[in-house]
Amino acid sequence: MIAENNSGGRAKGTGATIIRYRGVVKRYGAFTALDGVFLNVHAGEVVCLIGPSGSGKSTLLRCTNGLESIEGGDIEFEGTMLPRDERALRAVRQRMGMVFQSFELFPHLTAQQNVSEGPRTVLQMNQADANQRAAALLDKVGLADKAPNYPSALSGGQQQRVAIARALAMNPDVMLFDEPTSALDPETIGEVLSVMKKLADEGMTMVVVTHEMSFARRVGDWVAVFDAGRIVEQGPPRQIFDAPTTERTRDFLSHLGWSG
């Protein structure tokens, strides 16, 4: 349904630019992980980052909320350069939800406590309000009945849905997904993707690093193809998957057996 919006250029691109990457460079010693990345993320858009492993997609995501620092270029979030100092960075992180490949739920807390932890500790919300918010969000991801369970008693797909609820609990302006389904059993991938689809339908701005091409195609508004630390092609999914303009994109998609 959303894919239909993309028949033309950037359908949702009318929203304000929320994240602007300008020539972002990231190095690990002699290795250049990001080699001048330019990309805009507009309000309400789902931007999918695809490409081979080690091409820099996850690194870009981790630079977005300052988990990694950058060596060159700049990242603008809601009109302001990403700060370098920890305190200011914390304020920015509160407005970006992040979902990790390996879930990273807090194992010593129940599902409910995992979700209320951010509001409690960071927003200083009182226990009752935080619990209420957690309950509502667990319900939203379809796990209301799992509130008292510890992560070890949940399936991978359930854990990742709790992780999504945990990130949403901070009421973020943007959600960053770092290969959210890569660590999941095939049968639980769908439940996570459908929660993400629901979020997208509600107008959440999302940056998604993914190997799920059908998700990028169906839900993505904009797709950026990474290779060796650069974006080799970006455009609406229809262009990327049906009429890729670069050799690298065609190579990558054919390796995946994508028959656009």
Binding site: L67, R87, F100, F106, H108, G118, Y150
Partner: protein, 219 residues
Amino acid sequence: MTLDWGVVWQNRDALIKGTATTILLTFATMAIALPCGAVVAVLRLYAWKPIRGLATAYVEFFRNLPLILVVYWAFYVLPILTGFGVSPLLTGLAALALNVTAYNAETFRAGINSIRRGQVEAAMALGMSRVQALRRVVIPQALRRILPVLASTWVSLFKDTSLVSVIAVTELAYVSMQVRAQTFRVLEMLTAMAIIYWLLGYPQAKLVDWIQRRYAVTE
């Protein structure tokens, strides 16, 4: 050879007092060594580099010296350092605390290091500061993991308190040896001492086993 078990009963008051001192020493040592060990561990992990080096030197120094040597050392050196005589009990306590603090510091450090980096990142992605991440996410998990180790240290400490008998701290071992020396009832007193240590130590060891089962980490 005739055995006279009456000697144990006749000296029951001294033995009870000695046992009380042994228990007191164990609790007091841990009461010092737990918070101090945590502080040393945090210094070793996060402090300014020279401080980190000092903390490491402290741990490696005391972890690799025989406890009995530290006890003697404290007995002769503490009065010089402090300028006044320190009671044997306090001296023994200091020696035990120095030793166990080093062990606990290592335990805490290993516990904190065992929590994978992604946990801190997840906390920080929510907007937590490093200190909040440590307090709310890392330390609660680390504590669970190290509880069995701390419990084992506790049981070792309970037995190792006997070493401070060499500087005349009137704990269980010292008292038993005193009675032995006065009455020449060697076998009776050693047996009594063994039974008391064992009766007190065995439940502790069982408790450790239970803790290890109870807090086994599931992720």
